[in-house]
């Protein structure tokens, strides 16, 4: 099998799940004839027809609202948000209708909301957001943010088969930049399980999505300097795999959290609290964070480069922590 991009892996997951289960439908803007703004849904309309590949008006509230109604009928809609920034338009539907449905009246909402997220492509303040924390703070949702093609496919399949509403974030910088050979057979990756991407003794980096690759790169450099870094890829932000984080912190005694989301109220704060509550006596240094600056994502390349965390930022924080 030839290696495939993360984008193709996501497309395969949707295609295969629609083949497997006629209850799976796709809904979103320009997903039909055009095949989606990023071509994730290319070829679906031809294969599955208009009843299952539903082009909508530019109307995020209608997309999410209709997907809820469809899931009440037992369908499993995959709702695409053309850019994840537009999710703000349907915040009410997601936080009040979708997330609370099962809790309030026992009505499951087996739907997936997915869309391209993240920066690094000079998309500016409305096409580069990382909105995960609005939803990590919303009980009832599951939030997934994969970093590899294999995980993207396996996690998306799990999300589609899950009986709960899942927000599936796809880092657009990774869409076509990473490639991986995928198994020929059907496989899934469990939701809620982090993975240790690199084992190490001296320091733990907890990260996800695009920053996982930057963190691995930093870990290789640090290894040459004699610092053995363990890298944990969260994969799922909600529910958070606290166990894997704590196990690693108890082993390395030092914790650095790296994410592309902005700093204040980012998940790094939550993970730091988890470490303090569950492994305070194992910590041999302060819990440090490498994150984006607290600003909207700027447009111009030098501004965006300044805004986003990079390998050097990770290296200097890790060196500081290792020397503590």
């Amino acid at each position: 099998m030839a290696p495939v991009t993360m984008l193709e892996a996501i497309r395969q997951a949707i295609f295969e799940e629609m083949e497997r289960d006629p209850a799976v439908v796709a809904i979103g803007e320009d997903i039909g004839v055009y095949g989606g703004a990023f071509k994730v849904t290319a070829g679906l309309l031809e294969r599955f027809g208009w009843e299952r590949v539903i082009d909508t008006p530019i109307s995020e509230t209608a997309i999410i609202g209709a997907a809820v109604g469809m899931s009440y009928q037992g369908l499993r809609p995959i709702a695409e948000l053309q850019f994840i920034d537009f999710i703000a338009c349907c915040f009410n539907q997601i936080t009040n209708f979708v997330a609370k449905s099962h809790y309030r009246w026992g009505a499951p909402v087996p739907m997936v909301m997915r869309g391209p997220s993240g920066g690094g492509v000079h998309g500016g303040p409305f096409h580069s957001a990382n909105p995960e924390m609005y939803f990590v703070h919303t009980p009832g949702l599951k939030v997934i943010y994969p970093s590899t093609a294999y995980d993207a496919k396996g996690l998306l399949k799990s999300a589609i088969r899950d009986n709960n509403p899942v927000l599936f974030l796809e880092h657009k910088f990774l869409y076509r930049r990473i490639k991986e050979e995928l198994p020929e057979d059907d496989y899934t990756v469990p939701i809620g399980k982090a993975i240790v991407r690199r084992e190490g003794r001296d320091l733990t980096i907890v990260t996800y999505a695009a920053m996982m690759h930057s963190s691995l790169e930093a870990a290789e450099t640090l290894a040459r300097e004699g610092v053995d870094v363990e890298v944990i890829d969260l994969r799922t932000l909600l529910p958070l795999d606290k166990e894997t984080i704590l196990q690693s912190v108890k082993k390395t005694n030092k914790l650095l959290i790296v994410h592309e989301d902005t700093r204040t109220g980012g998940i790094a704060g939550e993970i730091a609290a988890v470490a303090c509550e569950g492994a305070f006596e194992d910590l041999d240094g302060p819990v440090l964070r490498v994150t984006a600056k607290d600003s909207p994502v700027p447009f111009s390349p030098p501004l965006e480069e300044r805004f986003l965390p990079n390998v050097n930022d990770i290296l200097s924080a890790a060196r500081e922590l290792a020397a503590y």
Partner: protein, 421 residues
Amino acid sequence: MSYPLTRDQHLELYYYMKLNRMLDEQLVRLFRQNKVVGGLYSNLGQEATSVGTAYALEKRDWIAPMIRNVGGLLVKGYKPADILMQYMARYDSPTKGKDGTSHFGDLKGRHVVSPISMLGDLVPVMTGVAIAGRYLGQNIVAMTWVGDGATSTGAFHEGLNFAATQHAPLVLVVENNQWAYSTPVAKQVPIHDLADRAKAYGIASSIVDGNDVVAVYQATKEAVDRCRAGKGPVLIESKTMRMKGHAQHDPAEYVPKKMFEYWEARDPIARYEKYLTQNNLWDEKTKSEFAARIEKELEAALDVAEKSPFPPPELAEQGVYCDGCHTIEAEWKRSKKEVTPPQSSVKPEWEVTDFGGFDLASTMTKQSAAAGANGGNGAKSSRTIAAAQKSAGKSNGRPEKPKVPARVPFGRGPKGKEGRK
């Protein structure tokens, strides 16, 4: 079109309205005794709309109620005890005390979607129910109610627009009860008839006297039949009146006394009682039997409700996720083979084949003429879908050709770099 009702159906309509009314009165008493948890939203005066609309549906059809649609919930098979226990926050309520008021539903048995407090949001949700129903081959109709206030929300418009583009079998009942909390309709929308909203989406609409249960039933039945025939969504404006404040805490002093008097003279239940008498559909004995029977039912319901305990505190954090507790499956009414559409069926029947190209000059002339004719748009007690469609100049549910509004000149804006952005 007329849909004659049998005597039994007439009496059943009366039963649900009277039950709705007496349950409302019982809840007010319980509220005063501090037995209701939180607010209480009265249905007083709106029974005909709730009951008449829901009565036009079949068992397989779906509804999503608002706070003032207890009547519709009763028609859909909920018992007074369910409503009492919801308001009293008891363990045996449909939501086990997790939510209150009319915020409950039942996916499998009664096909009721639980509302949320953010009004208008049910419109896109029920559009999804309707679209899914079509795909599943169920031939269902999805119905929801919104108030005059909810017609100002984005969700209302996004949902209705999407339903229209999909030709979804959605019946949207706009209950124009004159007040959105303390805001009168005139401050809520700049139009006289909320049914006019339908024109913008190219769908059928009708206006009905919301305090006349038979008229409400007729209008809804017509809309339901239309939906079932695949002719797309219908908006029904029901003109009625909220006879109390927004909730029990609100004395509604902002409502002119004369307005209450006007609508009190049009009380839906008193009107229907008169109708039943005049048409020899009952006698005094039957009437008093209804009251006695309902009173007994409500006493029994209260007994059930009061015996139900409050939920155990540990329930608070349970049920956030439904992992492992349900098997969620679509109910297919057609064979699996038919479910996966053939590759050729990529275009729906109503796919746009009209690529525009209209006569700008003549459209503008027509528009000006129409604006003049509509100037003195007075109150209409009832009009049928056909009549409403005629006025909208179409009959097949397809969007009408776009009309260009008379150009409104912009004021002279700043120039150069400071110009309009």
